[in-house]
Amino acid sequence: MAMSASLARRELDVQRYPLIVVVLVPLAAIFLQVLIPRFIPKFDIIDLPLLVTIYFSVGWRNPIAGTITGAVIGLVQDALTSRPLGINGISQCVVGFFAASLGVKIDVENPGTRLLINFAFTLLNIGIYLFIMHRMLAFNVRTNWLHEVIKAVINSIVGVFFFDILDRVRPRD
């Protein structure tokens, strides 16, 4: 009885989005991500596609959906760079999986929580990305950790406002 009540609450909390939103929002995020740095070069420190992955994964609370979302968005990002395909795909599918798993257990509507999970998942994404680059592919790239931490802080702050905007495209019950 108690288990069925918990499942019912979980089902109620799961966010459902129209298909067009699910397709267009990631595309729009990727599009803005490749377009805005043309005019504002420093904008590339923000990772809008990663924030979209976190947002949908946390909202769906389904690890498989989060994994697929992260993998697809990451692969599209990889395709637009000069790096091998799969680096962002791997890191973002891991982020999507854990974001969805975390969304089941904590309240993700709170701005403070959103700030923390955005910071943590941005750092996780950077860590996995650099691990793949250095350890798996043995690419001779250098890392400025201070830059990466600043990047995580900025992403977490931007993520709070970005999630608030994305909440508006969510259908009301």
Binding site: A71, A79, H147
Partner: protein, 480 residues
């Protein structure tokens, strides 16, 4: 099993991607770039992003064009005048450099060096970026249909930008020099140090693995070396910003470069589609035109300069030359400058102007002896140093003895002998060097007055009227 469904799914997705990564790294395309499958996925992604990017770019360009056209029309006449003046100035500068360039080409031809000139370029517009600071990639609106191929150099008039990486039908990806996987051969212009340029973690281009060198200073220009076979030699890259130690590879240093091209705000680029060892016809035409115009202007300038100076030479109001040693009169007009004369000699001798008698008063075959030296005859001191001042003794002590022996007959005969190093001799004798004044060489007065019969010159080459031939053995010097 259903309990582990999620984690199994994650592992499966990760495994597929890891295998995909391994295949890409293990089997790179032998022709460079990506494999067929990877290229296809990139093509889909680019095709997905390019149309809206082109729409946004076109809309922005149109709106900006309308506004800027209006603004440009307001100032077009002034800008046109400025540009004409600039073109004229550049043509003159080019004419000045023309001869150096030709000489350089001749020397390169002698060395068998093949210079690569930019023969053909394709202008392109930047329509997008990679969107991440981990990969510095630009998307441009020109592709294989426009003649682009991988590894073509991409530049702006300010400096190099990068190279073409992947080429699609109507778009291409450009790898910028600030990317960590890029590479370009560069040369420090003044120190001539060569190195490899690539990006760092902060997106700044830097020359890696350089040994510490004190000669490298911030502000030194960096140009392409041409060794990478992508960028033609001599294109500007940027200037040295700072030198930082390579923490992972001591004692090497990295030289951070401030790029000449504004890599953050790139809009229009030039893709070098053809480089040749001959100069493009347009450039040859420009150089010929510059040379002609430069010659005309130089001729005109020379005549202008002469026209300005000639009236001064024949100015009827100019004062008469007062001659050396005389105080010039006050000029009638301040614009006319009095002619200059050297100051009077402190120690006049027979080299001093007006000290030598005119040629028509001389008797052929008879030596002219300065009465100053003829006044103190010391015929028996020729074997040793004569009585001189202390300073002169010090000077002659350091000189070989044969010098004084060799110069003695010339002084005796009165031949115009020029001291070998007047300034040096003046300094060593403790006298102040006076411009225009010469000092007598250190001589050994032998005979106060010598009359030598005039010889008949056998070949007429070594002697002149009034000058005696060499009177002592070992004197091989000739009058100058």
């Amino acid at each position: 099993m259903s309990r582990y469904k999620n984690i199994l799914f994650l592992v499966a997705v990760l495994l597929v991607q890891v295998i995909g990564l391994a295949v890409q790294v293990r089997r790179p395309n032998p022709n460079g770039g990506d494999g067929k499958t990877v290229r296809l996925i990139r093509y889909w992604a680019i095709s997905l992003m390019s149309p809206p990017e082109k729409v946004v770019h076109g809309t922005g360009t149109g709106v900006r064009g309308m506004w800027s056209n209006y603004l440009d029309l307001r100032h077009v006449r002034q800008q046109n005048q400025e540009l004409r003046e600039r073109v004229s100035r550049l043509q003159l500068e080019q004419a000045g450099l023309l001869e150096d360039a030709r000489q350089g080409q001749r020397l390169q031809a002698l060395l068998g060096f093949k210079e690569h000139y930019i023969y053909n370029t394709v202008p392109a517009q930047v329509i997008g970026t990679s969107g991440t600071d981990q990969s510095r990639i630009l998307t441009i609106d020109k592709g294989s249909k426009d003649g682009l191929k991988p590894d073509m150099a991409v530049i702006t008039p300010d400096g190099i930008v990068g190279k073409v990486r992947d080429v699609f039908g109507h778009t291409s990806q450009v790898l910028v020099i600030s990317d960590q996987t890029s590479g370009a051969g560069v040369l420090l212009e003044s120190t001539r140090l060569r190195g490899v340029l690539r990006g760092n973690a902060l997106g700044q281009p830097q020359i890696i693995n350089m040994l510490p060198d004190e000669r490298v200073k911030p502000g030194e220009r960096v140009v392409t070396s041409g060794g990478d076979q992508i960028f033609p030699r001599g294109l500007p890259v940027g200037v040295v910003d700072q030198m930082v130690p390579d923490t992972s590879n001591p004692p090497y240093m990295d030289i951070v470069i401030k790029p000449a091209a504004n890599l953050g705000h790139l809009e229009e680029l030039l893709v070098i589609t053809e480089a040749s060892d001959r100069m493009p016809p347009t450039a040859q035409q420009d150089m010929a035109q510059s040379a002609a115009e430069g010659a005309a202007v130089s001729k005109q300038r020379a005549s202008d300069i002469l026209a300005e100076r000639l009236p001064g030479l024949s100015d009827p109001n100019a004062l008469a030359d007062p001659g050396p040693g005389q105080k010039p009169a006050t000029p009638a007009t301040p614009a006319v400058l009095p002619p200059l004369h050297p100051p009077p000699a402190l120690h006049p001798d027979h080299y001093t102007p007006d000290a030598t008698p005119p040629a028509n008063s001389l008797t052929p075959g008879q030596a002219v002896v300065d009465p100053k030296y003829a006044a103190a005859p010391k015929p028996h001191v020729s074997e040793t140093a004569p009585a001189k001042s202390t300073a002169e003794s010090k000077t002659t002590a350091s000189k070989p003895a044969q010098d004084s022996d060799a110069e003695a007959p010339k002084a005796d005969t009165g031949a115009p002998v020029k001291p070998k190093h007047p300034a040096t001799s003046a300094t060593t004798t403790g006298q102040e060097a006076v411009p225009g004044a010469t000092h007598p060489p250190v001589v050994k007065p032998k005979v106060p007055k010598v009359t030598v019969p005039a010889p008949e010159p056998s070949d007429g080459s070594n002697t002149a009227p009034g000058i005696a031939p060499a009177a002592s053995p070992g004197d091989g010097s000739q009058p100058h």
